[in-house]
């Protein structure tokens, strides 16, 4: 239900196991095997970074993104009675990305359709440390909507793919709720927020409930707190990649799971809180590892390379026509 994650369509229809997600992708890959082996695309996460960094992709890219999702990465995720017209995971991710930006303007023009609608529940609260973003985002949205009809079509396709299940429970809310309880500093909250931003580049939103993600982000922020603290500009990648790689992180996680009582007071407090709560620690650790591996992959990211590979695929399939 709208206010209860446990009864939500998000939990009932959009939570996958790693295996089932892999199966889905495998099946889709098989469907269009030839193209995929001829025109391999970069790692899904790199593609995600690519689309995400172009916050307002030109219209053609939105369409491309859609067509790609349709022909490539996703589809038939789960049979969804009674209609079985479901497609799957990565399109929902594409969607999640889009709607992370402030909901000022409709994706498709004059009627304040998609994005404000999503505000009803989908949208995270605007990040306090990302002020000023919204006006810029607004301006960009206006730039990309010369062709309302096409954008409207994308909106249709997306909503249909998502079975009109548009309300998403985001980890941001859990983060805000735990801020006081765990006495988090504003720097820690800002960093955790950026970590949550980054997790949308991975499969994590489809694998774990939002509170697990939020706790992972808090732990990462508290444990790996980089110095000097400062602007994370939406992503925590540059701030965290180094620290996490140095490996203290994994030791810290070990401490979290079996040695309460060691480490700095703040971390002790967090450990105690975790022990009392019924959070799945294993899942939290898994999420941390996933994030770490995202930051590793990120280092190979090349916008040019992504663009080229996508371009080739698009051309071969005539998707740009």
């Amino acid at each position: 239900m709208a206010a209860n994650y446990w009864a939500s369509t998000q939990r009932r229809h959009w939570l996958f196991s790693r295996e089932s997600l892999a199966d889905v992708r495998e099946r889709l890959w098989e469907k269009d095997k030839v193209t995929h082996s001829q025109f391999p695309l970069p790692d899904q996460r790199l593609l995600n970074i690519y689309f995400n960094q172009r916050k307002t992709p030109p219209l053609q890219e939105i369409t491309t993104c859609l067509s790609l999702s349709r022909t490539h990465q996703i589809g038939q995720a789960h049979d969804h009675p009674p209609t079985s017209h479901c497609h799957g995971p990565s399109i929902s991710q594409a969607f999640l990305y889009k709607e992370r930006d402030p909901p000022d303007k409709s994706l498709s023009g004059p009627h304040n359709g998609l994005l404000p609608g999503l505000q009803n529940g989908r949208m995270p609260p605007t990040h306090p440390f990302r002020g000023g973003r919204s006006t810029r985002a607004l301006a960009r949205y206006e730039f990309i909507t010369p062709d309302v009809a096409k954008l409207g079509e994308c909106e249709f396709a997306l909503i249909s793919e998502m079975h009109s299940q548009l309300i998403v429970h985001h980890p941001y809310r859990t983060l805000s709720e735990l801020q006081t309880e765990l006495a988090l500093s504003s720097d820690e909250v800002a960093l955790a927020w950026s970590v949550i931003n980054d997790h949308y580049l991975t499969d994590l939103p489809l694998l774990h409930p939002p509170h697990v993600i939020a706790i992972m982000a808090i732990i990462v922020a508290v444990v790996f707190k980089p110095s000097p603290p400062g602007a994370y500009l939406g992503s925590a990648q540059s701030a965290l990649a180094g620290t996490m790689r140095e490996g203290q992180g994994m030791n810290m996680l070990a401490a979290l799971s079996d040695k309460p009582g060691s480490g700095p007071p703040k971390i002790q407090k967090l450990v105690a809180w975790l022990a009392e709560s019924e959070v799945d620690i294993k899942a939290v650790i898994e999420c941390t590892q996933e994030l770490l591996s995202l930051y590793e992959v990120w280092e190979q990211y090349s916008e040019k390379h992504c663009k080229e590979l996508i371009g080739r695929m698009v051309k071969s399939k005539n998707l740009d026509k």
Binding site: H85, H111, L114, N120, R122, V148, E153, C154
Partner: protein
Amino acid sequence: MSLTNPPSSGSISARARTSLKRNLQSFDETIDSRRTTGYTSKVRVRDRYHIVGFISSGTYGRVYKAIGKNGHKGEFAIKKFKPDKEGESIQYTGLSQSAIREMALCTELSHANVVQLEEIILEDKCIFMVFEYTEHDLLQIIHHHTQPQRHAIPAKMVRSILFQLLNGLLYLHTNWVLHRDLKPANILVTSSGAVRIGDLGLARLFYKPLNSLFTGDKVVVTIWYRAPELLLGSRHYTPAVDMWAVGCIFAELLSLRPIFKGEEAKMDSKKTVPFQRNQMMKIVEILGLPRKETWPGLASMPEYTQLQSLVLHRQPAHFHRGPNLEGWYQSCLKNGGYSATSSAGTPGADGFDLISRMLEYDPTKRITAEEALEHPYFTNGGSVSANCFEGIESKYPHRRVTQDDNDMRTGSLPGTKRSGLPDDSLLRTAKRLKE
């Protein structure tokens, strides 16, 4: 979904049949004629449903009655959101906020007293929301009791309707959903007497909103059912606005006419929201003036000065008589023939207490859905049936499923901001003239 509908009578005339054809064509027009190379739905409305007729139309689009096809059993109401420019070649124009809200919320909601969504089909630039079919709604039930001569809705039935309505509303409120458009036309009733709250086109989540609710929607709730804090320009309103509407509906079920039937002041050209003087007056006539002593937040309401000018400029006698809801209630019971010895029974003193708590000026003191369900009106006097028709002899006419939509298309009548016709007398006159 406002399945506004008068009781059916007589047979369908030849003219009506032609117009039925026209209407069903309009259901088809987008579906059959166009093939696009872009987005196509994997599910086609026509493959799953057989459209049997037209129910109603509003600003959002039209509602059709349908039956399931190919082993997909049951009756359905299909709400088709119209593409914006009809007639010309249809383009994607972006979804309306109301459509998005209803789609997003209805997919998540599931409760015995909230209308059941079957599925949503996005096909050929139109949205089709498929709901369970409901044979009746409160507006139609109220109509039925006003003709040929007025006869009261049995007290037991009112009690069951109200209980189910509150039960559905409690579910919405505990899930942080404000309905914001409760009125008889939006309260649906199935043939087995189950009440379903319908039309969530104005509903929204109110958990920690980013902006005040006022910023999102300047005007909510059909004027006759609009709570005083909304009339006085409150920016931050609460579920209490829905409870006020329930109070109005309760009163209307007993008296068979809207309790506060004001005239809506139109927005001016500058799009500023006008003070609804006439509507406020109607409330004051029965409840007396709201006072700072009993409603501490009153003086900080944006339209407080307007309220004061209301007192200064016109001073009819009733302003000084003070609250007279009890007088209204007693004469309503008398006119309706409600008494312990009559066949209709009576809502009694408990009924009055409940209605007066729902029509409480101060939203912070107004009874909540949860409290109302525990009120003596429900706890005294035996169990409440989940079938509001239980033990009721009168048969309610089926929902009229027909023909032309011309007389339902209105934009300027009171309370037609979004859909349907709230004014039964107008609707009936129009219908009679046609027949």
